[in-house]
Symmetry: C2
Subunit: 453 residues, 2 copies
Amino acid sequence: MNPLASPLLTDLYQLTMLQTYFAAGMRDTAVFELFVRKLPDNRNFMLAAGLDQALEFLEGMRFGDEELAWVEQSGLFKPDFAGHLAGLRFTGDVHAMPEGTVFFPDEPVLRVVAPMPEAQLVESRLLNLVHFSSVVATKAARSVLVAPGKLLVDFGLRRAHGAEAGLLAARSAYIAGYAGTATVLAGAIYGIPLFGTMAHSFVEAHDDEAGAFIDFARAFPGSTVFLVDTYDTLEGVRKVAALAPKLKREGIAVKGVRLDSGNLAALAKQARAILDAAGLRDSTVFASGNLDEYRMAELLAAGAPIDGFGVGTSLVIAADAPSLDAVYKLQEYAGRPRRKRSAGKATWPGRKQVYRHYARGGGLDHDVVALEDDAQPGEPLLAQVMKGGRRVAGAESLAAMRERAARSLAALPAPIGALDTAPRPYRVEIAPRLRALAEELDRGMAQPLATAP
Amino acid sequence: MNPLASPLLTDLYQLTMLQTYFAAGMRDTAVFELFVRKLPDNRNFMLAAGLDQALEFLEGMRFGDEELAWVEQSGLFKPDFAGHLAGLRFTGDVHAMPEGTVFFPDEPVLRVVAPMPEAQLVESRLLNLVHFSSVVATKAARSVLVAPGKLLVDFGLRRAHGAEAGLLAARSAYIAGYAGTATVLAGAIYGIPLFGTMAHSFVEAHDDEAGAFIDFARAFPGSTVFLVDTYDTLEGVRKVAALAPKLKREGIAVKGVRLDSGNLAALAKQARAILDAAGLRDSTVFASGNLDEYRMAELLAAGAPIDGFGVGTSLVIAADAPSLDAVYKLQEYAGRPRRKRSAGKATWPGRKQVYRHYARGGGLDHDVVALEDDAQPGEPLLAQVMKGGRRVAGAESLAAMRERAARSLAALPAPIGALDTAPRPYRVEIAPRLRALAEELDRGMAQPLATAP
């Protein structure tokens, strides 16, 4: 059993509901939409990611022998349940915003239309995949926006929440505009460019720092970025400068130095001066160590001559907003629109499309959320990506997603693309017919609206 | 290739260092220790978890054909590198604190003693596994401490950071004292008890709420906890009360109701009153919806008659402390102790043991960190778990880890076990010989101590 593809990667209630749907013969078509209800205070937009993983999961979704054996011996289900599950495949349609699209609250990023049991079962894993990938893509986009032209690299695997988080974070950051990652398996699986130098332990294992630098340069003559802060940062930079002529005679150029602790702004200026004085004007200064977009913005504002940043923990856990209020909600069943009305959690019913409107200069102006059959002006953001359980086209390249993200981010109005909370959120209108449908559903139901605060 | 077990689940610099170690013949014994440098402001202790996964990774670590093929065609390494990797296994020794042990900053929770290339390569994945599992175990322990005797269930899969995070979070929460999880695959893989009821979509898919409840009760007569807030919470509770006699005639008892939105304290009291008035005194009130340990403490302090809590996002992402300053540092190489002295990141050198001292009443008093060969009074916390690349004993049961965690948590001094930051941190002493060794190393090195702020 591959745990990353198992249909048991779900909440127990999905299986209990499935058994009930089977027992009650409820196999009519259900429409679920995945969207974010509300942005965290420190986010003005989101960047969509994780669709490819979601589609791969849906295409491959089946109960294997091990999973069926577990269902049978778990004692949780009726004897005929495993038989129902054995034949279960995802046969539905999916519409979605492509990865790298900027999106906002109340806008569906993914819609599933499928027989109820199939559509229900996949909720947990679809959210698990799309939520996390979008959380990190959004976090990464913020550093791309504050450090234009800088080389940004994901260093986060060790403090990512498990292996899949490390892999998906590297992928999301790359889509958002990072140059690459240190996570080797992300390079091997997704073809993302890999970056890396050396650790402090490498320097410490050598009896002297210069010896460590020489060993490394000879092994990787094309990747000579030296970690200089194991003992004393500026001494380390001076050693690199002193070694440069010797390395040059061996045909090796010094690519740069990496600072990983201390006052990065001051050290970057001093390191730059030492390198320049040694004639190493082409070598770069790379910084890492507890960085995030706020710190990067500060360093650049302080004029720190830093050419690239390695960002680890804060990126892969999206430290200041590690989750979004992302949900997957039933919007229609058996041809009838549905609406949840729980206090503070009401949803917009029906199958919907999002239309984007641009200002004259090409920037984003506002979006309109409308019922799918209520065509509107503007650019429709959701497109069909799966029909009858199969993708309608091959997987999109990461390069195409990166391009889309770059265009999307460049088109953000300045206050929306800024780190600080925008004075006014981006405008998302609910089309009149959709609003009318919601009111109609509320009136038509027997129960009064929830009034609890 | 199983991505969760791949040795490519590492940072590129581990591989570049490996190539250099191979080229320079640096295969002497290295000693690395995994520890936390500093606690987040809102944590007074940590709970260790993830060791079993770490040992499984070490035992199975090998480069398969796919991985070797990638290394060869990546263009990043010298031609003979893949050959070195093909034969690489983890052959080292591991000492560790068992899972469910409370630990504090500067205390090694895991020590690896192995030839340098092996010990270096596994850094990223060991940290990735032990860091996250301990982050969630610690978070879960805090809710166990504020809600003694309550049924706590992990609901977090959908917003966990990927699949492995969902699985490991369920496991860590169970070790810390949760009753179980909703994540089915965690039940199937680890044998953790599973909990679950129904989703709002289930109620919405039915044309009336009572019909949904009846369908569910007939399918799961033993799990009749009804989700009552889809439309109007108290109306929902009244429907459950009204259905109870009918269900009773079918031999089905109402186990309880689940509240998932609104003012939970007020609704719990009203729901309890409705259930009691209907003679359903044995049925329970279960609450969920954006809960964490702070909110649970408030609800219980307000006298809310809640019997159990479902905790999702805040638990599995450890929202208020989603990472720890956990590191894996070289402490000795080729028989010589090593010390990193980067500004703010200096380490204690050498192989170490942690000794725990208890107060008269059985509570924790203080710990002492000492060199391994400098035996001290107190309870030693690290034990050998792997020798020559093989475990010295079979995997420990989750039940044993839970028991240890329960004992550990019960022994915490009150201010350390409280939600608020303790006025004084728990006392961790550095033994005199260890302190002397660190000073000696500083004096013996050619470079002056780092002076950057």
